[in-house]
Symmetry: D3
Subunit: 252 residues, 6 copies
């Protein structure tokens, strides 16, 4: 359907890998519906999330290349495009320049839905930093008076609307003030998510971990959808939290 | 469409009048879509919300009759059915018997969406009391082991699912921890809501007040839907807050 | 050690089963340390948590007996004593009499640690009702001027101290304002917990569900204990939330 | 009265216009009491809040001049002085230099009351940025060891006291954690506020919008002041939120 | 001044003693200004707050008489009237009858300011119970359609307005969600508060404890009033929390 | 015991003095147990907390020297080492360089427990700034891929674990969202804390203030430990708030 096909998902991910574990189901489901999905990967997670490679004595450049290759394979398995901003991690430093590049990206991609990290994460400051930049750029990209990064001004068709923003589930949700607003059914998309997870061999223990989490969120999904459905474990879920109120013409 | 027509809206209202000011748009919109809408009116608001009639020297019975007639006219203008439980107000006393009657109602009506008051309202204790009973009855009505009020046990088809619950907007939202999760477009339904408000002549000053509020929520609705739509004031809105996470297969 | 052996754990559980899924590890660990553990089971969960038996056409009394037998077997597998108050469920009705019986129990058992449900649970009102009664009885049992349920007054040795209270993890933690304060290592006790779960055959699908949760809480436990421990999946955990500040002479 | 006349109101506004819609009543009321009122306008809102001028093809400098003229006219209509810091908007960038200029301003103006934006606003990051700078400068201006922006040190008479800070109402209060602590009666001052609003012709649709809001806050004001006053709609109000506890010698 | 003298303070206290430690300064200050102050003492604290008398082997009636005498002496020292409802404590049971008696009291006393306990106190359930009844009765007393306890209906002059409600400071403020909104200067009234405390000889250790607390709140009061006042320790304070927004015509 | 002696406490303090008033008991208690305690003092508090010296006409360098000497004496009285980073105060500016120096410090000291300020303090922005840097450096110091400040990479033994972080009590706890999670018994260590306080003669009025606070927290400590202990005032306490869940193998 043209209407649905016009939807575009933008995922702003602090590190290579985050978008797979936390939003892989939503990305794959969008792709399966024929929608465009774009991942903006702000860093490779080369310093903070690559301990085993450092212990193996690999160089910074080697690590970045490995993680980039893995992220590209995973994005491909999900059916998404991926762009790397290579901003560095641990810490991911917020800057005017980085935000400006994200403004360009928003205007180029024209997302109808945005996914990113929670604004609080005591275990990893890069995640809130990514979220703050994603949110700031989204507001700036709406304004016709805010220039692109090359100094030119946007035309009327370049500025973006107000796409809803969803935070995906952090590793320790309760410590991050993460209360799910939305339980997303990813049952059909889960095969792709699993395939994408398997593109990340260094974190093999996470494959079953995030499979279990999908089961757990699936159980909650069914429980919130009604007690009479039975608790068969095939439904898989992902949890999200809205940053803005939902706009709708039907309550459901 | 059969699918949509099968939806049924249940509104649990502490007093006659509450459902009009706070949820009239959602009710009328459901009716306009061909759905069934049922209002459970727990009291007439005969003691706490009928000051002018008391000052006129009317008796308790007269006041109850007047408010009942008004509420029936308003429900009719919205396109809804209405049932009166006559539990008394100021205070609306919670009881096992009242909850049991609500359990029966849930099982008879089989709602797919439920609307009620917020769980906090420092200005009127009847509102949270109504919400607590609405929520307790909803859980009890799901259980096949919980008897009906006549002592009989429900059949498998009698128990209900897990309809989503939305709190409608209280008079002083910030004092009631009311943060809108959902902004509902009631533009098409607003004519019916206005007509229903005009069935309540004793509170004439509220007509323009709730019209203004619908404008204000409409402005927010448009702002959350995108900056490029312009701020023309014709969109009318109502605000709601979810009690449970949304269950969906698409993020939007 | 005499000192440790003198500790006594009291678990106040709304339904037969709750104490197994949610606190089985803590109970078994206490028993393994040679401490006394007592479960106060307020109802059998005969109406709200026995859907399959009702569908099988069993009578109320049969269901209560089945669930009682299962709960006794599970408590035994954990190494705990169990007492049934048979207060009824769905709803579990709070009453002066029920609280008074709990006061007696506190004074008889003299717990040094108390476990119960969270104070908020939108999916099951019996859980907060159990918690409110457990907390009220704990305060009343401390007062020498509050009579026992038989009208006699307690002696100085009968009143209790101020045992810390921990809420165990609800089924949908984020919807219950459950933020873990304590991650408990139950690795050694997990075998007993698993055995206790297997005493509840009607909920077989929960066995793997709660095994997975123990893995997940175990991973968090290790992550909070330090990044250099590696993420081997053998550590099992349970999450708890304190109701009162911790009293200690060492920060750790 | 000398005592009252010595009071001075400082309003820190992110953009030209904010102080009119959100605090115009408080400013005009202060001026009507013979107090001094000073608006510190951090930017002209030239990029983020001037969409129609950009669409008309106006240049950045033209837009800044237009908005400056409007803001001066509005301040004059309210009876306030206005200073422009021209820090740029979208984004309003926080800097040591900007804070230092605000420290100078505090010391020169010696405000007894401060008004500014809320610390959270997901729709516009400039508002919290303005608030953070206003709050930081207020603390620094109190310290005799903190130099002025020209490097000189303040004398004992130059440092400021601890003026109370009030956040004015944002456009979408519930999304900004805005819970009114104070409902201000602006009935007498409303004529001036309306006149000031009419100095901003590009946002004509906002005139009635903020008039309606003043009515709504006026209704709440009366409701909080007592039910026996009747609900006549002539009382106009503005809502504020305190950042510090109120200091008083009488509870009222 | 007639205007001030017409003010009347109502303090709803769960136990004899609470009003002294927590609100003695506010009560004495009101009395010193020539205002009427009335304490509604819901119980004597005979079971939960009289441990030493129980240990001395005193009877229930003796304990109640002792505590009543002490409370009367303390009220007298503060300059307040006191009424005893003798509802029993530990637990203080909420009932329709008790609320109805409070409605009568509100209508008879016509308070312009109300003080009571916080709505949360994990150490003593009687405190929130007292607060809930005080708040419910305040709303019911406003309604002309709510009968007095003798069944008669109030006249127009009998119903009350909407007096502001302040929660006084609990023993463990942070565990009770107590965030001070108001710091009250009780320097002049402190002598009376100290004298009232000394009417409660069984809790002699509390005299210095609450004197220290008054110093600490006094220091905060000065710090919130401005850094240039110096930190001399003579200012004494009490902390309060508002339940409703402040209504005012001047920000200060 | 070797095990305990291996524990090391790191205290990150915004200004000279903060660590004495707020954490002196915990520091002295650790030293008394034979553990190492290290204070990282980010600034001398030379601008914002030295008003009397500025009024005396002292120079910036003199003030810094005075405060450094006092802080060294106080640390010595507590039994702690102290390091000064001299980052400047009012404002304490966050920077990559300052964080990098803290990363070095964490790796050198290998703390097993960390104490710092709360993340919110409306009275002093330096306190949250210190906390943010302490928390960020703690996470970075864990990563083997994050270089030391001299550009070299850490070895496997240099990276740190995940020491628990405790926030110490701010001057106005309720305004800083400070809810005590832990009440620490400092009775034995209080003599050293008092001696350390007396090393700060310019703030003599604080000596009794913080002695009173220790009494008050001691009373709460006993109340949380049990009602039957009696309220003798000799127990002294300090309050702390955890930033991460406690990891334990025993609930107590």
């Amino acid at each position: 359907m043209t209407d649905t096909a016009a939807d575009t998902l933008l995922v702003v991910s602090a590190h290579a890998g985050d978008f797979v574990w936390r939003a892989g189901g939503a990305i794959a489901a969008a792709a399966l519906r024929g929608e465009r999905a774009v991942v903006a990967c702000l860093s490779y997670g080369e310093r903070g999330e690559s301990a085993s490679q450092w212990l193996d004595g690999k160089s910074l450049d080697e690590i970045k290349r490995i993680r980039r290759d893995e992220a590209e394979a995973a994005a491909s398995a999900l059916g998404a495009e991926i762009e790397f901003l290579d901003l560095g991690d641990y810490p991911l430093v917020e800057s005017r320049d980085a935000v400006s590049r994200l403004v360009d990206l928003y205007r180029r991609v024209q997302p109808t839905v945005v996914l990113t990290h929670t604004l609080r994460d005591p275990y990893n400051g890069d995640h809130p930093a990514a979220a703050r930049m994603a949110l700031e750029a989204r507001v700036l990209a709406q304004a016709i008076g805010v220039a692109n990064s090359d100094g030119s001004y946007p035309g009327k068709a370049d500025i973006i609307g107000a796409p809803p923003v969803f935070f995906f589930e952090p590793h320790q949700p309760e410590q991050c003030d993460f209360t799910p607003d939305v339980l997303l059914d990813i049952t059909e998309a889960f095969g792709r998510k699993r395939a994408a997870m398997e593109c990340l061999p260094a974190q093999k223990h996470m494959w079953s971990y995030y499979t279990d989490l999908a089961v757990r969120r699936g159980v909650q999904l069914k429980r919130n959808a009604g007690p009479n459905l039975g608790l068969h474990h095939e439904t898989m879920g992902e949890a999200y939290m809205r940053h803005f109120p939902q706009v709708t013409s039907v309550l459901s």
